[in-house]
Symmetry: C2
Subunit: 320 residues, 2 copies
Amino acid sequence: MTNIKEIAQCAGVSVSTVSRVLNDHPYVSPDKRKSVLEAINRLNYTRNINAIHLSKGKTNLIGVIIPFNNHPYYGAIVNGITKQANAIGCHIVIFQTNYDREKEIQAFNMLQMKQLDGIIVCSRISEMKILLDYQKYGPIILCEDTAQAEFSSISIDHYAAFSCALEYVIAKGYKKIGYSLGRKKSRNSSHRTKAFNDIMSKHQLINNEAWLFEGSYHIKDGEQLFQEWNSMMDKPEAIIITNDDTAAGFILTARKSGIRVPEDVAILGFNNDSLGEMLDITTISLPLEWIGKMAVDLFENPEEVKHVKLDYALIKRKTV
Amino acid sequence: MTNIKEIAQCAGVSVSTVSRVLNDHPYVSPDKRKSVLEAINRLNYTRNINAIHLSKGKTNLIGVIIPFNNHPYYGAIVNGITKQANAIGCHIVIFQTNYDREKEIQAFNMLQMKQLDGIIVCSRISEMKILLDYQKYGPIILCEDTAQAEFSSISIDHYAAFSCALEYVIAKGYKKIGYSLGRKKSRNSSHRTKAFNDIMSKHQLINNEAWLFEGSYHIKDGEQLFQEWNSMMDKPEAIIITNDDTAAGFILTARKSGIRVPEDVAILGFNNDSLGEMLDITTISLPLEWIGKMAVDLFENPEEVKHVKLDYALIKRKTV
C-alpha cells in the first residue's frame, strides 16, 4: 500500500508538502503541486485517499441542510455559507430536504460516516433528540434560536423583527392589518404569528383570520396574494408580507390593476433585497448572508459553543 | 475490523439490507434502518465507511463547478441539477471558482481521489487538455457546446438564440441597437458577440462599440446600465440585455426617470424569469433548469457519450 512517504520520495518533496496537496492547502507552489499529483498518478495512489480521510478524519466538506432550493431566505443564507466556506478551503454539500425526515437523517448519517466534517442546519424537522445522537460525530451548527447547550447557533429574533414591523405599520395609522407567511408551521412563522397576535391584542385591533395568507415565497406568489386580497369584500388596509420578492410581486400586479401602494394598500416586506430597494419597498432588513458566514465561523471553532443573535433593521421607504 | 456481515448479524437483518442502509437506498423499512444504524453504533463501525467507498467506489456526491454563486444563469442550472440529483439519491458538492484554475483543479482532484462520483462543469477556464487528464476517474459532463468525443455535453445554441433576438428587434424597425454581456470573455458572450457582428453586418447596420455594455448580471446592474444609457449623447434605440433580471433593473429605473419602454428605448432579455414575465419583458426563453436535469441524466449514463442541444424560444411581450 503506497503511503505518503513514498509519494514524497517519488515527487522529490517533503512529506508535509504531500500532505498539503492532499488537503488542498493553498500554500503550495504550482510546481510542487504538479510533482506531487504526478507522483500520485504514477503510484496509483488514488484508491487510498479515503484511508487518509479515515486517519485524519477530514474531508473539507460541510453539509448544509435546507428545506427548499431556490428560496429567497435560504438562498441568501447559502450564499453566505458558500462564500465563507470557500474562504477557508471547504466546499458545501447541499441536502435539500423538503422537510423530509429521512433526507435530514441521510445528512447526519454522512456526518457519522465521516463523509462530512460538520453540518449547518438552516432549518429542520428532526427533533433535538436526534441531533443530540449525532453531535458526537462532528460540529452541528443550528441557524435557529436555541439555548441547547450542545450546539452553537446563529439566529435572528424573528419575534422582535416582526413586532418592529407591525408597530411601525400601526404607528402609521393602519388598523386593518393582515400578514403573509411561507408555511404556517415553520419555526419562523410561529414567532411571527405570536408577535402578530400579541401586538394586535396589545393595541386592541381586530385580528381577522381571513387576513392571514399562506404560501408566500416567490414573486409569482405575490401575484396570487394580490388576487386574493383584491377579491375580498372586506380588505386589510396593510399587509406585512413574508419577503420582498413576494411583496414585489404584489406591488407590480397591483400597479397593473391600477391599485396604488400605499394609498390603497400599504405593504411591508422582509429581507431588504435589491428588487425591494428598486421598488422602494418598506422592509425589515435581515442579515441573511451574515447568518451563513457566521455559521461557518462557528463550524470552524467547535470547541467553543456560542449562541449568536444578529440584529435586524427597519428600512423606511415608500410602501407604508 | 467490523464488517458488513457482523453488522447484519448484530442488527438481525440481511447483509443486503445493511448494504442498502449504508448506501442510503430508499427501499429500506424505517425499522430495519433503525436496527442497522443502532448496530453500527454499537459496533463503532463509523471509521470503516470510507473503506466501503473505497471498495465500491461510490460516494453519491456529484461535484458541480460554477464560476459564480448567486447568479441567475448558473443559479437556474444548479436548481435543475439539485432537483434531479435529489431524485436519484445523490447530493451535490458546489465548487464556486470565480474562474480560478486552482479551484477547478481542486474539484478534479477530488474526483481523482474518489471523493466524488462525477463532475458537472457549468462553465470552466481549464483547457480541454486538463479535463482529458481526469476523465478516466469518473464522468465529467460539460454544460457547453462541444464535439469533444470523450465528454457528454448539454448546451443551448447561444449564437442562434441571440441571432433570433436580434433579427426580431431589427424586424420591429430598430436600427440603432446595443447589447449587454456579463463577462466579454466568457464562452457564451463570444457566441453572442459573433451573432451580433454577423447579423448587424448582414443588415448593413452600424455596429457602435460604445453600445456594448459589460457587467450585466443582477437587477442592480440594470440600474447602472440605465444610467450609462441615459448619459449618452448618442443612445441606442434598443438594447438586448444579458438576462431578464438586469433588463428588469433597467426598466424599473427607466420608469422612475419617466423614460418609457419600448417607446423611448426597446428592451429584450434572456431566460424568461418570473420577474420578466411580471414586467412583460420580451425575452428569449432558455431552458436552464433543463440543462441541469439533463446533465444529471448524462452523468447517470456514462457509458453512452451524448451531445445534447436544447431549444430556445422567443417570447413576444411588450418591451420591444
